[in-house]
């Protein structure tokens, strides 16, 4: 089990190798990458900004919860920070498990948890020179006092209903 915020390119093959083990027959991976458009606006790249110590703590907590829920310690989560060009990987999740359903369920659970809880923000840079903080849809203005954020929404992979003021 390993989680990390990283400042350099995510190596998907290395992450797959990290979780691989002959006790497991199934390896599930998810990689989020920077898309070339968002809500129809052409994107140049995305700057990922993290509250690093808390993001690392939340990522570790998510891996721990996933291990307990799905029954495998063979989990790696890496999230990139800094400026990413189109196509670059922002997040990678790998889970190895004896059973394929569990490996895939765990991967999905982790990416959803990560998008709800880990304090990372992205500033989209558009080809017209403007920038904007990506804000996911929220049913209400944040949820205080629930242990963790009730923030809902998606990510760079299929975000919907975004808002947020133009930045520069």
């Amino acid at each position: 089990m390993r989680t990390a915020l990283v400042g350099t390119r995510i190596d998907v093959a290395a992450i797959a190798a990290d979780v691989a083990s002959p006790t497991n027959g199934a390896l599930s991976l998810f990689v989020g990458t920077v898309r070339d458009s968002n809500d129809g606006r052409p994107v140049d790249g995305i700057e990922y900004n993290a509250y690093a110590p808390m993001a690392e703590r939340e990522m570790a907590a998510i891996a721990r919860e996933a291990a307990d829920r799905f029954g495998s310690e063979h989990i790696v989560i890496e999230h990139r920070t800094g400026y990413l060009a189109l196509g670059e990987a922002s997040v990678a999740i790998a889970v190895a498990h004896p059973r394929r359903a569990n490996a895939m369920d765990a991967t999905r659970w982790i990416i959803e948890a990560l998008k709800q809880r880990v304090p990372i923000w992205k500033l989209e840079h558009y080809t017209d020179g403007t920038r904007q903080w990506v804000v996911h849809w929220q049913g209400h203005g944040g949820v205080q006092g629930q242990g963790h954020g009730g923030v809902q929404g998606a990510g760079n992979d299929g975000d919907e209903g975004r808002e947020g003021a133009a930045h520069a």
Partner: protein, 80 residues
């Protein structure tokens, strides 16, 4: 006591700073700190119930805050 409240992303941009210092009573809780930030940095335009972290954990409105705590206002997250 004085608390330096960390700001990120759109909050930091709006405040023009990565933190804002507020003065609160010694028995202040998270809600009091949030109220003090509203006054000290109105440009941040916090939502009705902003997410707050105390020492890297999400904290409810009634959690007590001490001078040594690291308090942060967490804009809606957008990782992944």
């Amino acid at each position: 006591m004085q608390i330096d409240v960390l700001l990120f992303a759109s909050y930091a941009d709006a405040a023009g700073a990565a933190s804002v210092r507020v003065a609160v009573s010694d028995d202040a809780c998270v809600a009091d700190v949030v109220q003090a930030v509203r006054t000290a940095a109105p440009a941040v335009r916090l939502p009705a119930r902003p997410l707050v972290a105390v020492n890297h954990r999400y904290a409810g409105a009634d959690v007590r805050v001490a001078p040594a705590d690291e308090v942060a206002l967490i804009p809606p997250v957008a990782g992944g």
